[in-house]
Symmetry: C2
Subunit: 363 residues, 2 copies
């Protein structure tokens, strides 16, 4: 494969294994698997999910919903609070597919009801501990009002409560992730209990760390993980996956080697890797090096990290034994910190076979 500049390279066998693993887990738990497609944003990869029996998906924007609807997906939840200026696109999509929308305030729901032209499903966003969006379980009155307003609408139907326990991203290991997931589930069940257990109220949860690390997926009706399709350095760091489950790396040309500084410079900057970062032993890290073999990649190189990014430059800090092997013109791999954002900036993938596949942003 001829790689001239930074490219997101996927091992399709690993991607498919990750998809199958999560699909099987959901099936065995008897719950709906509605994967989040914001990570890959690719119709080709979407079809790999379809091959595992997936029929319902999650996206994070209406634009993304339109992109996947055009590829035949007809049951899509937009797991992002309703963006009022886009009501035109909501109507366009709702006339074509089963569209799930997320609401967290009555005024937005009422405005939506006035302007809707086709039926939609309404989910109420609950803040189960992450404190980004959603109503707190103690906001009982508001939650009950929104539900009543949704049920009362000509074109709206209340379907359930939805949360994202994104606080699992800031801890390490199975015990800590499971504890957060448990608290999140308790909050959801508390809301479900006052909404009336007898009525249809689906509980939708499921970030990648929880769905990867929990043995049993009980209490919930639906999971929506996304990042597990590729995983990345952040997930390795949380303990959600092993290195061997990481399905994609960014291959970058080396452009300079500075042994005196224990650094090399790669063509691979913020516009290729994104500026997302993690802290490892107090150091800010933007990626970890692996060897690139032309048709696959090696194990993570110890202490070989991207420590700084400008627009096009990446600074790799590595031990002498690693630096000695590098020279300008050669290609190395970088395990990205956050595969979702990296895929978004790179706007397309190549498989290890050389084939190119799509990403919404590259369309």
């Amino acid at each position: 494969m001829n790689i001239l500049r930074p490219a997101f390279i996927l091992d399709p066998a690993k991607v498919k294994d990750n998809i199958r693993m999560m699909a099987v887990k959901a099936k065995e738990s008897g719950i709906i698997f509605r994967p989040h497609f914001k990570t890959h944003q690719s119709r080709v990869i979407g079809r790999w999910f379809r091959n595992e029996g997936v029929a319902r998906i999650t996206v994070s924007s209406l634009t993304m919903a339109r992109y996947f609807a055009e590829d035949g997906w007809d049951d899509i939840t937009v797991a992002f609070p309703v963006n009022r200026p886009e009501v035109g696109l909501i109507n366009e999509l709702a006339s074509q597919i089963r569209l799930g929308l997320v609401v967290e305030d009555l005024a937005t729901l009422n405005e939506l009801k006035l302007r809707l032209a086709s039926p939609v499903d309404i989910y109420i966003k609950i803040d189960s501990g992450y404190h980004r969006t959603g109503l707190e379980p103690s906001d009982k009155e508001d939650i009950v009002s929104i539900r009543a307003a949704a049920d009362d609408g000509r074109l709206t139907t209340f379907r359930g409560i939805l949360t994202h326990a994104g606080n699992t991203y800031s801890v390490f290991g199975k015990a800590a992730v499971t504890e957060i997931a448990g608290k999140s589930m308790d909050a959801m069940l508390q809301v479900k209990s006052f909404l009336g257990e007898d009525q249809a109220c689906l509980v939708s949860v499921g970030d990648t760390p929880s769905c990867s690390l929990m043995d049993k997926l009980t209490g919930m009706d639906e999971i929506r993980p996304g990042n597990f399709v590729f995983y990345d350095l952040m997930q390795m760091n949380i303990g959600s996956c092993t290195f061997h489950q990481v399905a994609g790396i960014v291959v970058c040309p080396v452009v300079a080697v500075h042994p005196g500084r224990h650094q090399a410079v790669i063509y691979g900057g913020a516009v290729h890797l994104s500026k997302d970062r993690i802290s490892i032993e107090g150091k800010t890290i933007y990626g970890q090096m692996v060897e690139w073999y032309g048709t696959g990649w090696g194990e993570p190189e110890e202490n070989s990290f991207i420590v700084s990014l400008s627009q096009e430059h990446g600074i790799l800090e590595a031990p002498d034994r690693v630096l000695r092997r590098l020279s300008p013109g050669m290609l190395i791999g970088i395990i990205p910190v956050h595969s979702c954002l990296t895929a978004n900036v790179l706007r397309g993938y190549r498989l290890i076979s050389g084939e190119t596949i799509d990403h919404l942003e590259g369309i």
Copy 2:
């Protein structure tokens, strides 16, 4: 103007003022103005530079050079170390335009000489204190050898020494920036002195903080600032510009307001603003709020900052007096931390008049 989702909005009068200010400064100093186009990456904005008499430009990738060459720019320096895998594109461009390349190791230059099919200009990259790329002034032997090898080539001509004093980005104010710029210039003049003052050796420098804050541009032959075309919160924080010189903001819809948390949630995440950040009073900041009037924007709102970004969500933390004015569905402006990266992820601009203009990544 109908804004449905996050959009980079430019005030063209401010952009043109910024361009004119820097063009005049260079002209009055009698030096070459070779602006860096990696910030805007827009043919339309490129033409605004051309209207100010600019004929020579800088870019950060060969892909960007091709994009601007196709719009008639015929004297382009790629201020990034030669990326050997792209020698095919180097040859393609060198057959069409005057192409300047940056070299920092002899092996790469020798490889290039073997594979070149058209003439190129060679600049030696010097590390004048930033420690990202380049040879240190004390690497006299290497610098002299590279220069000799460039002069000795059938298709290569040594043109000068080039540096980027990116260390100005980590200080505040005119005195500190001027001090770094002075040290950087001393390093460059030291190199020039041993390369032989009598011979043609252009000294090319000029990051945005230095070019904005220095009264006199002496000693240098050419400046290459880029970010000044828009400026941003990072430059305001360094003191390179006033708020009134900031020529672009990101307009975002509000999707939720949480008075209890002193926060609002905007549709405007890492895929719209980039994850670049600055530290203000010990806090990590991803942008600052301004009011959006539909045809322009207000002053920066005090203590109203984006404090967290996920893929599509931005969390605005603001005083109650600001939050009280916000409601889901309304539009607010965000001064981006780093306009170059924000432009890159948003892939296009709208002018305050409503007109849409191009960005390379949106092509």
